[in-house]
Assembly symmetry: C2
């Protein structure tokens, strides 16, 4: 018989930023698997469940744990912060799932940091944007650099995940230096620390200022495009609404 | 005294894909404003509220309605499909809000189609990606074309919103033609119709096949990058996990 594993995006951390679907899936699970930090966010509510974790860089083991529990007939949920399908565990689960044809994988989407961070800053990604991770553990730096250049070339708003870590303290400065070749130093940017957790803090600054800011792995960075402005302390990328002759507005597609 | 308007992303349409925060804000509102189609999704649950709408292309009027109601002391929520800050009404509200300094705007994030569509297809945006709208009502086609080229140059996964409308039937074909200059015709792609609504349907195909598919404004399109594969019928972009010497995995930054 087919068994099923749910891979659940829990959003930035606050329970009220989870979808009802995500909460229901977790409530109906026997086993919840995740990185320790994220299990902690949930353990009060789900203390009667079997909660299992593996350490950082033990992602494959964490996935295998899920398949082993599912094979024993347990209802398993694997949690990821943000959206499970955006820098989350979904793709690794599909790869490993190749060896477990009797297990079906179901992805439950969550609020990713691009959405939750943008909401706190204003409306910086209200038009076309790119999401780029600066983690070069498995992506060569040259590829990250190429993407940063392409994003600037396309005048995208750029959302940066994992802008720094202990070993990568200067990566955001490096990215800003690349961008400053083609983008004016006054370009407006913003960043959010600890989205959905204690110590949430938003900052708006210029690209030049951003270069020298200290950020960490719990920071999400937004680099404006040529249509991004600061309006009353909020970072806003215009979507291009314009008044037409009769006072109606033309809309870029969504309502 | 300051009054407040909440701008609420309701996700793809199904109530269980809304966050609890979004549901609570709507429950505490006196007036819910939105495009008629999205109000319909909510009207059963919120039939005792004052529900107000304006037609398509009457976005500015819809915003003004919110500020007018808020000035009268009403608790107002403006709803948008998906995420209110991704091709939603958030930025227009900030612009118009310049004339209403006594009104504070609060953005409530929601699940955007990139997340919900990806979850149905597999894990296509598990690494760096771009989101591009093909609506050229207010973005010149040349700019859209430039972004498509830049996205291909950067080897991004590309998520396309608004791939077509009555007046823009051939836009997706035009985009594919641009991409086919630099990307092999076998590149794997996918699209999802009617996410979170009746008639949800996922399709996986090649870039060459995508060129001739009929899509509409309720379709979200995913164009894979050089690391995207089809695994057991799912569209998966590898995040670059690799086994290290001792069997541990290295991780691209999130857990």
């Amino acid at each position: 018989m087919k068994n099923k594993i749910h891979i659940v995006g829990i959003g930035p951390g606050r329970e009220d930023l989870m979808t009802r679907e995500a909460l229901e899936v977790l409530e109906q699970s026997d086993v919840i698997v995740g990185y320790p930090l994220y299990l902690e966010l949930l353990e009060k509510r789900f203390q009667k469940k079997e909660l299992l974790s593996t350490q950082m860089r033990q992602e494959k083991e964490r996935c295998l744990l899920c398949f082993q529990k599912a094979q024993k007939g347990k209802r398993v949920a694997l949690i990821c912060s943000g959206d499970a399908g955006i820098y989350g565990m979904a793709s690794l689960m599909y790869e490993i799932g190749n060896d477990y044809p009797q297990t079906e994988l179901v992805i439950i989407p969550g609020i990713t940091a691009a959405s939750s961070g943008a909401a706190l800053l204003g409306a910086p990604i209200n038009h076309d944007f790119c999401v780029i991770s600066l983690s070069d553990l498995l992506t060569p730096w040259e590829k990250i650099e190429k993407r940063i250049k392409a994003a600037a070339e396309g005048d995208f708003v750029i959302v940066i995940y994992n802008p720094a870590s202990h070993k990568r303290k200067d990566y955001l400065a490096r990215v800003c230096d690349i961008l400053l070749h083609t983008i004016a130093e006054e370009r407006v940017c913003g960043y959010v620390e600890n989205i959905g957790r204690n110590g949430t803090k938003t900052t708006i600054c210029t690209l030049k200022e951003l270069r020298d800011r200290n950020v960490n792995m719990f920071t999400t960075v937004f680099i404006g495009n040529s249509d991004t402005y600061v309006i009353n302390g909020k970072l806003v990328t215009k979507r291009g609404y314009q008044l037409t002759m009769n006072g109606q507005t033309a809309n870029g597609g969504k309502h």
